[in-house]
Subunit: 500 residues, 2 copies
């Protein structure tokens, strides 16, 4: 664990600010008395251990229909509000996992309720169109006011999809099509290509590859899964492609204290990327695209520096590979900018950027050059869902109106400082606090301890997520304010103080 | 083209019934005056050629955002009702393609509008849960009253997904997991499997395969696409798996006239299936599952007999392969039974049945034995969408209340008889009329003629779909009644009479 003078000083200053003293003491914040939004509760409230008896009975019922091993508890979404998730046993928890980071502005936000009660919107819900052949009249306008209003730099084209996996699958296909079109000089495919593609053989189905990183998560459909390398349970027993996998930098935290060491580690990984590109070209399986998360999420909240991504983007350009930034989890404002890649400061950050989760619809942006040359190459029945675009428009209105990116930056800073303080106070339990905006994480000493902390916290009204081997990940909403941070830190502190 | 005495006799009898005489004459049906449902129009009404000027302007606008080559026209979904799709230029068309077969009970059905205005349902729309970890209280009940109420014979387990491709991808994964668990006797995976799966290598990512059929369509994500063999444009330039592809029977229509020839053709294909299973096992890429559509749709509406499917199911069982029936397009009542496989008359028709489109949510059923042994093996963020289950429940209520399967059988019979009559009258243009329920199709003499007929019909107010090389496919709603059939046949007859 990194524990430099700077960290200790920061922790001391935080302890003073937050009046954090001995184990068992609680964070008390000046902002804790701030008025909460009228639609939200003011604190967690627990009635039973979680899962409570009602959840357990429902678990038994659902177990006759599906594998229920991943279910935490059953929810009363009607009663949930803002940052508070209410379960069927009447327990109200501060939710900093938010349906795997997919609730942008909290439960039952009034702005989203209004979408439902606007009679002009009914048709978008009850008549789901095949958007690729018969779009509704307002489709271009709705795209412009929703997904295109937040398009990444250099991108004016977008394709919506139903979920994150479909978005990445189709982004991969877009890169393959672009790459082969380049290779054959945009000429028509040969007879041999036409013939072989129907029977899954090269050259029609070419031996192209996507380079991904160890620890990555890009989804679980077979194409995506070939680029996912975060957990055994995702991959075991599923056939895959022989595609190159580069090491993702294993950095030391806090990043600002290990600049030199981290730069060396990043240089090592970048060198390996170039080696793999060359090697796979020699193997006859050229790298059509490189896919990467700005922060590896499922794989354990692994960060890299802007410099790493800038150099990687250049390597992709140099070798003629498309550069695909997967912002399914990092996008939507949670890092304090709408897209995590904005932190890199590039005008031309990527060729493809995919999204889902907090954007409520899946999809991906791409540069003009990657536009498929013919219709029906990128296609499916639904191609997204206009009713989700309606919700997204409202979410974006709320983000702008309430300056939520500033809120995220403010809350995120407080959260990260609090985590630094906690790991200083409990160095035998916690380490490697890290984050950008509220997209924060901290490691436990092992997975059993991590799981135990999470269960105890849940029983005290704090619902968190896990990732990697022994990491706790924080994925609150964009309306997660400083007083919510203090509730979080108070509960976590109580759990740690009691931890044997 | 098959043109036996029986067909001719049938056609003559139909001509008398429907008063179809010389080219140019029109079908007049006794039921044509039947009162239409209060929520529907009574006939097509055309104001411009399609696409009209407003559609063309919107096409230009959307062209700056996406490839628009597949778009027919822009729609006014608010004004569309029942079987009639209204476009932005005020043209009202009888829609027998229904958003690629995905509108079950017509546009703006009052029962679906009510789902939207019921305040108890609002939360399901605005708080999309991560169903695999935090389901809503009513989730087991809603599954039971929606998807489970129409579960195929022998199946009590279901997993919802966001779309058809995700459903098939996860169905494949379910079969791979089941197959490997069988192989290792349900023991824990070896260290070597655990290690290799993270880098996409065997044995962790085993060389297993799915056997599919030439002409099949199972989706366009990379796993699905390896089993799709209907059109070059779907497959070209996308890497694939070396999986076995069997011939799908090329039958002669009407089926009842070519029983002996068709049985021979089916026997040939079944023999090839067994050969491929043996060959791929020897290649070290055993067939974990066989996937097939009850009627190949995208590939050209290719039928096979119940006997073929019964024997195929037995071959799968004999060789220890899972049998996956893809009912994404055939399911939902359009063949006159809720599932097309019900026509086979089997108690144990399949190990896996996937669905989407008319069911409004994707998903798949499976036998108990295929239940994944551990959580998170079949998983993604959303795992479906409870708001779609609400709509599905209402669709099923309407189907039951209005006996729509009987309606489909009745309308389908009239439609197929009408198509027989048309191909008898225009043997130089049409052939191979075929269908089950309203899931009907007819071939044109070539693709240019097919496309020309479709455009002319569209301009007269009939919107149809295409499939295969030169096929017109009919995919009307379940509220498509006999007088709609007569409208369809009248317009088609007018187009054919004018056809040069």
């Amino acid at each position: 664990m990194a524990s430099s003078l700077l960290t200790r000083q920061l922790a001391i200053s935080l302890q003073q600010n937050l009046r954090l003293a001995a184990p068992g003491s609680r964070y008390v914040s000046k902002t804790a008395t701030k008025t909460v939004s009228e639609f939200e509760y003011d604190a967690p409230s627990m009635k039973t251990a979680v899962p409570g008896p009602k959840s357990q009975e429902l678990l038994r019922q659902l177990g006759e229909i599906q594998n229920v091993g991943a279910i935490h508890f059953f929810c009363n979404y009607e009663e949930s509000r803002g940052n508070y998730l209410v379960d069927v046993d009447g327990n109200r928890m501060l939710d900093v996992y938010t349906q795997i980071s997919s609730i942008p502005i909290g439960y039952n936000h009034p702005a989203l309720m209004k979408v439902m009660t606007n009679p002009n919107n009914v048709s978008a819900f009850v008549n789901r169109p095949a958007l690729g052949i018969l779009p509704p009249e307002n489709f271009p306008d709705k795209l412009i006011e929703s997904v295109l209003s937040i398009a990444p730099s250099g991108m004016t084209r977008v394709q919506t999809m139903a979920c994150g996996s479909c978005s990445n699958e189709n982004a991969f296909k877009t890169m393959f099509i672009w790459y082969r079109n380049k290779e054959r000089g945009y000429a028509n495919p040969s007879e041999q290509e036409v013939g072989t593609c129907m029977i899954n053989q090269s050259p029609g189905c070419p031996d192209l590859s996507i380079l991904s990183f160890m620890g990555a998560f890009h989804g679980r459909t077979l194409g995506c899964l070939a680029t996912t390398h975060s957990k055994v349970i995702h991959k075991l027993d599923i056939p895959s492609f022989d595609w190159p996998i580069a090491p993702f930098p294993k950095l030391q935290y806090p990043l600002e204290e290990f600049v030199r060491e981290n730069a060396q580690e990043e240089a090592r990984c970048l060198e390996e990327v170039e080696d793999l590109i060359v090697k796979w070209r020699q193997k006859g399986k050229p790298v059509a695209g490189i896919v990467i998360e700005p922060i590896q999420a499922e794989g354990g909240d692994n960060h890299a520096s802007p410099d790493f991504f800038i150099k990687l983007r250049n390597i992709a350009r140099k070798h003629g590979c498309a550069f695909h930034v997967d912002e399914v989890q990092t996008g939507g404002g949670t890092t304090g900018k709408f897209w995590a890649h904005e932190h890199w400061g590039l005008d031309d950050p990527a060729d493809v950027v995919s999204f889902s989760k907090k954007l409520l619809t899946g999809g991906y942006y791409h540069r003009d050059e990657l536009q498929p040359d013919k219709p029906y190459r990128i296609f499916n029945t639904w191609m997204g869902d206009p009713s989700k675009n309606l919700f997204l428009s409202e979410v974006l209105n709320v983000i702008r109106r309430e300056n939520l990116l500033e809120e995220v930056t403010r809350s995120g800073k407080t959260l990260l400082q609090g985590l630094y303080a906690l790991q200083t106070q409990y160095p035998h339990i916690l380490s490697r606090a890290r984050g950008q905006g509220t997209f924060c994480a901290i490691d436990a000493c092992n997975d059993a301890t991590r799981d135990s902390i999470m269960i105890k916290a849940r029983n005290k009204g704090l619902f968190m997520g896990s990732c990697g081997e022994k990491t706790i990940r924080f994925r609150p909403t964009l309306v997660f304010k400083e007083y919510h941070v203090h509730q979080l830190l108070n509960i976590l502190n109580d759990v740690l103080a009691e931890h044997k």
